[in-house]
């Protein structure tokens, strides 16, 4: 069953893989923004995760440790953001940009000597006979653990935000830090923890890029994925399950344009490779205008610094 040289089952399976990095980064950023912090450094944290994960995996030979290393490396970078914005009261937009600029430079510095190396293979989850099912087996039961983990994380974030006390406190901090502070919650501490979680998720996403998706190290490997993750949070109107939809949408577009390039479609390659960015812009415009404005859902204290004067 092929359409113009593109097999739909393979396409769906590969879009699930393609969407993992942006899904992880976006769900992390969603938690950060729910806590009222705008961290524009997702791109920088992702690429730090990509190189830290790659180095760890190559040195230890274990992809699992690679993912851990990626999460730790990116969380380390996000700690810089946390200290600057939460303790030193720096502007969040500027600090986020600094994180991206610094992350791009540092990752390229760390990655010298790792260009052209193959990372250890991340094996697929053995589903046994399920994997041999026609069509469904290819789509659902033929992936590495991270594909499933990313969906589990979405479910977990949704459940925690919606049903747990912790989620309620986090949302309170994001909606009105003064009220949360008056109720006795440690606004700064909660926000720092949220930023670290966001960093770790971006790192996992980055490590997935360098260990599974590409899989090798090249400078600027993220190519704007972190910024698309930020856009997905807006697209999702700060709702976890919509992050999944958004990530699949963008994963689908990037896979489709690659497939169209490979299948020799008569659209110029340049137009195809700019399509994910153009579509991101179009989606942002649709989401931000009209009655169902996404910004209505934004946490009220998003991007504002909190300084307890008493």
């Amino acid at each position: 069953m092929d359409f113009g040289g593109i097999n739909p089952a393979v396409l769906v399976a590969s879009l699930m893989v393609a969407s993992v990095p942006i899904m992880l980064a976006a769900i992390g950023e969603l938690v950060v923004e729910k806590a009222g912090v705008l961290n524009l450094g997702v791109e920088g944290m992702m690429i730090m995760g990509a190189i830290c994960g790659f180095i760890t995996a190559v040195q230890t030979g274990s992809p699992f440790l690679g993912f851990v290393g990626g999460a730790v490396g990116a969380a380390g970078l996000s700690l810089v953001f946390a200290v600057l914005t939460q303790v030193l009261q720096a502007n969040q937009v500027a600090t986020g940009l600094a994180l991206t600029l610094f992350g791009l430079g540092l990752s390229s510095l760390m990655g010298q000597g790792y260009v052209g190396i193959k990372p250890p293979l991340t094996s697929q989850v053995p589903f046994g006979p399920l994997a041999d099912l026609p069509v469904l087996g290819r789509i659902l039961f033929n992936h590495d653990p991270m594909v499933y983990l990313s969906i589990i994380i979405i479910a977990a974030v949704w459940a925690v935000l919606k049903f747990s006390r912790m989620g309620l406190v986090l949302r309170a901090v994001g909606e009105s830090h003064d009220a949360a502070h008056a109720l006795g919650y440690k606004v700064t501490r909660i926000r720092i923890l949220a930023i670290l979680f966001g960093g770790a998720m971006a790192g996992l996403g980055g490590a997935y890029l360098s260990l599974v998706r590409v899989p090798q190290w090249t400078d600027g490997i993220t190519a704007g994925a972190g910024w698309i993750a930020l856009a997905i949070v807006v697209f999702a109107s700060w709702k976890p399950w919509r992050v999944l939809i958004g990530a699949y949408l963008f994963g689908g577009i990037s896979v489709l344009q690659l497939n169209l390039q490979a299948a020799g479609a008569r659209i110029p390659v340049e137009y195809l490779s700019m399509s994910p960015y153009v579509i991101t812009i179009i989606v942002l415009v649709i989401m931000s205008s009209g009655k169902g404005r996404a910004s209505m859902n934004a946490p009220a204290a998003l991007g504002q610094n909190f300084h307890a004067s008493r």
Binding site: A98, L101, G105, Y277, L284, S288
Partner: protein, 360 residues
Amino acid sequence: MFVLEKRPSPSQFWTYATPVLAVILTMIAGGAMFALLGKDPFIAIRTIFWDPLFGEFAFYLRGQLLVKAGPLILIAVGLSLGFRAGIWNIGAEGQYIIGAIFGAGVGLAVFPTETRWIFPVMIVAGAFGGWLWAMIPAILKTRFNTNEILVSLMLVYVAQTILSKAATGFLRNPQGMGFPGSRNFSTYPAARNVELIQESGMHWGVVAAFIAVIAAYVLLQRHMLGFQIKLAGQAPRAARFAGVQPTRLVVLCMGISGALAGLAGMFEVSGPAGQISIDFASGYGFTAIIVAFLGRLNPLGILLAGLVMALTYVGGEMASTNLNLPSAAIQAFQGMLLFFLLAVDLLSNYRIRLLNGRAV
């Protein structure tokens, strides 16, 4: 432990002292980074900050300084206006690319010509290209309330694909034997951005940068628009009561910064770079963000900051050839500078009170 006490108004002293302090802290942290890479930190720092000015090859490198500082200052001055008003145009890199393509495109369209008018027309085209590219996020922001940060950034990636299309397709040198890259402006005297004084690095782009600094200074100090920009950034609510139209401000700030970035791209392609090539975009648009903050969003500060940042470029290239220091180290070094700037900014807005073990 310590507590932070907000100052009623930012400290005058620290406003001037923080950029200097940040540069010094970056030198220390950068030195540590170079030491980790196995280089002598003192030699590395000297190569970057001292040798381009007073070293053996200073006569040549001082000229390079202006070549690098010109586009950085030009872009940063434009960005600083928006940043002051809380309008975040971070896609200057894209506007720079499109400005270069427009400027070069006009010049190459009439190749070969000898009329003196072609260069001014190219300047206008470059500014127009950058302005046009910046108008996309501006209009989307004002019409649909779309986040200008994300849109302007996404447009950088779009501009980069257009650049590679230009270099391999519609602007490719017809006599280049199929190699990517446009005709070189060094062989096209009428459209060339010449070096005005031999060996000084002074070209029309640097002149434009100086003019932009002066114009922005006058705008901010003496003009109603400058007042509105400052007011909108410091007190958005008060600005609305004072009759400042946010829409107009967004369009103006984005437009000015886009046009200046486009100019920078046009001067670069017709001068130092010489041609449209796939690797034409060199990150000036992003580094200019650091320059704008290092200059404290003040035009005169940006002039100095642009020169300091140009020093890290020129010195960094020296260090990479002489000491084998990876060029990525310089990029990380520049990123670090922005971190330290933002960190020490605390000193101008807050007072630090130490607590001697007392409970608060």
